[in-house]
Subunit: 346 residues, 2 copies
């Protein structure tokens, strides 16, 4: 593992994107969203993904200079078209507009069509929390699961996030995908020769399995069974269908070098002060969090966390100690940066 | 089992509530919400709960004549106080106001404080769908689970629902609580001498268990583990904290004859036509549903359903054949109705 200063990583990633032709402000936004994911301990959405977007940028599937255009709306609602551009750019614009609308109307919603992968949803919903709002953001994603009872991938993991301010505490944040487990855990179990728990996967015939090899040949199950399937469909409805974007099997994932992404998003901000004084809301959030953290703990549990607390704890540590990257990620970033003439920070 | 006409049941339940002193329109609303749950096949939220509310009404904990008052708001947002009244009355008012605000502002939100148990969330969100909106409704509830890592009940199951219209199909509907399983299933497994799956419950020491007796002595786990815990906390924030109502351990459940309920709700309606023409949205919903229903099925699966379809199928059957009630529920309703001078339909 190598420890790097967040600012150095941010500059490196931004320079790489500028070398790919991205405007400075957009490169800085995408770089910050990736580094921030590392700060929160979400390495899978961090700088290791820097060049993940590169193939789609090179093929023109992601148009890095596409404008985000206003295509419709009414009152507190706006429809944006991302014109096959960068997901982070569209999500940022959407959340800013939702917050601005919430200041005027008490609540604001921004629907986004023809966008791309935006990284980590909580990067955007936490901005709403910082602005005194409750924030919501959803996206749809490429097929990862079968519909409940099926055996062929047709349903995305369709991530969604809520965030709210919590006074002296970091915000309360939910940010989840609707799959029971990341596919990588099946490969890891197979490598260790271990069985997987019921509820993780079905085999190619659509039958529940505890054999990781059968699960890899089949598909991942939704979290919480049929409930997770239903949640994922609702997020596709909110993100893809409402916006007039792609939905269901029509979405192309960020791993594919070509093909329009087609993903849509929905951003909502609720102005807390439209309901009650923000200070009262925050005092109650403190009391709610205290009721969780003071609960009697299970055997072997050292601390109870409220949602979003682990990420905030991780960030504080990484800001002090630097972001730890595995050697193979450092090698990969160094080589790919060098090919663009961008030097990886020593 | 006895089959009864929905209209007869609706009249019986409404008459019982009027005999308890409830105004006719309120009695009709609560009766309809219970009968509708039976029509959807959700017997646990159906007419068997008729007298469940009675003890709280008799004690004055639920004030059946309490007005729903406007206490604040801004633009598209309204704050209502249910003044310890009937949950269904408050939720109905909230959803109607959210829909009306969405017509003007594109989106509307209504926060409700000091309410009570409102029955089935989808009873209200489906009204938004019928009005050309996407509807959302959340509520908090009395403690049912430990915070993740804890061993004492401090987190409600905090149900939430989304609904959206789907053209020639009945609406797409999500309506879930955030517990892994209803507590009754632990008692059933214990009675059969069977183990329960991992992920259902922890014992009194907070350790995961597959012994139903240990789970009964302990607490139910959230659906999807820590994800369900986080979702439930977010629903408490949206319902209880945002509205300035009770939250966390301060909520009194509908099983308790006394004590202020303290639950809050949040209703949101998004006017689909503010984003894109409703007919286009609905055509895409049909396509999305078709992609689910046409998926290759798993072994032994006869049909794939989209969220909300099973309830709609159940309703069509029950409207044709009547609502089937178990003999013990019929006996109970007959006796309790007779005590109020209301005759159970033959």
């Amino acid at each position: 593992m190598m420890r790097l200063a967040p600012a150095d990583l941010r500059r490196f990633v931004g320079d790489c994107y500028m070398a790919m032709g991205m405007a400075e402000d957009r490169a800085a936004l995408v770089a910050d969203s990736l580094v921030q994911a590392d700060l929160w301990g979400h390495a899978s959405h961090g700088v290791m993904r820097t060049f993940w977007y590169a193939a789609r940028i090179a093929s023109g599937a992601t148009r890095i200079d596409a404008p985000v255009t206003v295509e419709g709306g009414l009152g507190a609602v706006t429809l944006l078209d991302a014109n096959d551009g960068i997901g982070q750019v569209a999500a940022q614009e959407a959340m800013e507009r939702a917050i601005a609308a919430a200041r005027v109307h008490g609540i604001g919603a921004v629907s986004v069509r023809n966008s791309g992968h935006f990284g980590t949803a909580m990067y955007f919903t936490r901005q709403a929390a910082a602005a005194g709002c409750v924030g919501f953001l959803s996206t749809n994603a490429s097929p990862a699961m079968a519909p409940w009872g099926g055996r062929e991938k047709r349903v995305g993991n369709n991530p969604w996030s809520w965030a709210a301010p919590a006074a002296r505490h970091p915000p309360m944040v939910l940010d989840i995908a609707n799959t029971a487990v990341a596919r990588g855990k099946l490969y890891a179990a197979k490598a260790r020769g271990e069985a997987i728990p019921q509820g993780w996967a079905i085999d190619a015939q659509g039958v529940a399995t505890t054999d990781p090899a059968d699960g890899i040949a089949g598909t991942i199950l939704p979290m919480a069974g049929h409930k997770g399937y239903a949640i994922s469909m609702i997020m596709d409805m909110l993100s893809g269908v409402l916006s007039g974007s792609g939905f269901g099997p029509a979405i192309t994932g960020p791993y594919m070098p070509e093909g329009r992404s087609g993903v849509g998003h929905l951003a909502i901000a609720i102005n807390i002060a439209a309901v009650r004084p923000l200070a009262e809301f925050e005092a109650d959030m403190e009391a709610l969090i205290a009721s969780l953290k003071s609960a009697p703990r299970g055997e072997g549990v050292e601390e109870i966390f409220y949602p979003g607390e682990i990420e905030a704890r991780s960030e504080a540590r990484a800001l002090a100690e630097g972001i730890a990257l595995p050697a193979d990620v450092v090698t990969d970033l160094t080589e790919q940066g060098a090919a663009l003439g961008v030097r990886f920070p020593a």
